[in-house]
């Protein structure tokens, strides 16, 4: 039981250390997307706008036998570039699944990429700790690293 209590306290601590952090961007997503317009889309990537402030993935879906182009909002590409992920990582023609919410302007076929995966459920881009993230010097491989950008 003692271990369990300690663990709960630890989780609480983590929650509070992370408090105030939620997944956003340079703007509030609640202002852009409609919580009453949830969607699930499946289609092929036709274009990737690898731009700031947000990446937009264009996909072609089929609705009632007719093709539709949807734009899916993601995050900044800069973090992925630092991990070696580029616009070429996901090829045009790759089939993906997106769940999210449509823009409040329903005449636009745009949505947030709340969860973007391949058709087998794998995340489109893998984030991982310790790969290309900013360094703090405690990674043993960084022992003598000098600041770059000269």
């Amino acid at each position: 039981m003692k271990t369990r209590t300690t663990f709960s306290v630890l989780l609480l601590g983590v929650g509070l250390l992370l408090a105030g952090r939620s997944v956003i961007a340079h703007h509030a997503f609640g202002a852009e997307f409609d919580p009453n317009a949830p969607i699930r889309l499946q289609g092929k990537v036709v274009r990737l706008e690898w731009v700031n402030p947000h990446t937009w993935i264009h996909i072609e879906t089929i609705k009632d036998g007719k093709p539709e182009i949807w734009m899916i909002e993601g995050g900044t590409p800069n973090t992925l570039l630092r991990r070696g992920v580029t616009r070429e990582t996901v090829k045009v023609g790759t089939e993906i699944i997106v769940d999210g919410y449509q823009t409040k302007d329903h005449s636009l076929k745009r949505a947030n990429g709340r969860d973007v995966t391949f058709t087998d459920g794998r995340k489109l881009f893998m984030g991982s700790s310790g790969t290309g993230a900013p360094k703090d010097g405690r990674d043993p491989t960084e022992g003598t690293k000098k600041p770059g950008g000269r």
Binding site: V23, A25, P53, T79, R114, G130, G143
Partner: protein
């Protein structure tokens, strides 16, 4: 982390360096410590140039359950592991047969605004607890001793109320210029001065020095703050987006004082009379200790001071060209127009 790339020697070297975290020494090939010496520019000043990261999981303000500024190594390790575990958890595969998210919103809070934002893999908020002078820190704020931003003054609260009155009858979506500067791609959503991390992504900055200027380029939103060495502040009515910064050297510490902040970019409610004093001190080959003091007697009941380690990174800063791809701005405005039509509230 890619352990396969490391040779046994590098691991050994790393352990030795990690063990001597607080001591500014590098280890030579022969395993002998060589004292670190301050790199200097041609004019003899400490060389602060290069790309640095201020990312950390240590929050600006101390969470209530931590009594002390300093965490034990065990506490820090647990927090870092919990952060890494969270990333792993969020990387797990999703159900390919998942339905659309819930009607009425997914319950997400904050800026994810009940619609869930986007996948965690876009984020890069830092993984480590801040270490300053060999101490693991529970908050960036070191003074006041509780590690919290001091209470605001009655004057500041009255100012906030007056601002709300001015906006009465005008919707926040009624004009592009009513939107926050970050949404308009003018400045970052994090503070530009002091250099507090945004806890989301792109917490990188580049310093370039000349004898009479220091430039601090922030990746978010590709903003360069130009610090004049010496001189006096601009007249009060001239308020550049990032305020007016002048600097001087106190021994080997660069001291920068910034005032003349624009009213549209308050830091914790302070702008007009805000003064931020920053101290940049290079302490070893890979670290700048950055200390900031925030003062505004019309907003805070007392000044407060924080410390952040800037760690050297050999990663590149990428351009953050915000205007070009800012579909969000038009989506937000056209969304508001659509809601007005739907609800019959069009003015």
């Amino acid at each position: 982390m890619n352990f396969t790339r490391r040779s046994g020697f590098r691991v050994l070297l790393g352990v030795v360096v990690a063990a001597g975290l607080a001591s500014p020494a590098i280890v030579t090939l022969h395993g002998q410590a060589k004292p670190w010496t301050m790199p200097r520019t041609a004019d003899g000043k400490p060389d602060l140039q290069g790309i640095w990261s201020n990312a950390t999981i240590t929050p600006l303000e101390r969470p209530k359950e931590y009594a002390s500024l300093v965490l034990s190594a065990e506490e820090a390790a647990r927090l870092e592991k919990a952060t890494a575990d969270r990333v792993e958890r969020l990387n797990q595969d999703s159900d390919p047969n998942r339905p659309a998210p819930p009607q009425g919103g997914d319950g997400s809070t904050g800026a994810a605004g009940n619609v869930g934002g986007y996948n965690n893999f876009w984020l890069d908020p830092g993984e480590r607890v801040a270490v300053v002078d060999g101490q693991f820190r529970s908050s960036l704020i070191i003074d006041p001793p509780d590690g919290r931003v001091p209470p605001t003054t009655p004057e500041a609260r009255a100012r906030g109320q007056a601002r709300l009155k001015t906006m009465a009858g005008r919707g926040q979506y009624d004009h592009p210029e009513f939107r926050p500067l970050a949404e308009r791609c003018l400045l970052s959503f994090g503070p530009t001065t002091p250099l507090v991390p945004n806890y989301f992504y792109n917490n990188n900055l580049q310093i370039v020095q000349t004898p009479d200027h220091v430039m601090i380029l922030m990746e978010m939103v590709h903003d360069a703050r130009i610090v004049r060495i010496g001189g006096t502040h601009l007249p009060k009515h001239i308020r550049p987006w990032m305020g007016d910064s002048i600097g001087h050297w106190e021994g080997d510490t660069l001291v920068v004082e910034t005032t003349n902040f624009p009213l549209q970019q308050p830091f914790r409610g302070a702008a007009e009379n805000l003064k931020v004093t920053e101290r940049f001190r290079r302490v070893d080959a890979t670290t700048i200790n950055y200390r900031f003091t925030v003062e505004d007697p019309t907003t805070f009941t007392r000044p407060f001071t924080g410390e952040i380690p800037f760690r050297a990174t050999d990663e590149l800063i990428y351009e953050y060209a915000c205007h070009e791809g800012n579909y969000a701005m038009s989506n937000v405005l056209s969304g508001a127009r659509n809601e007005e039509k739907r609800l019959g509230t069009k003015k």
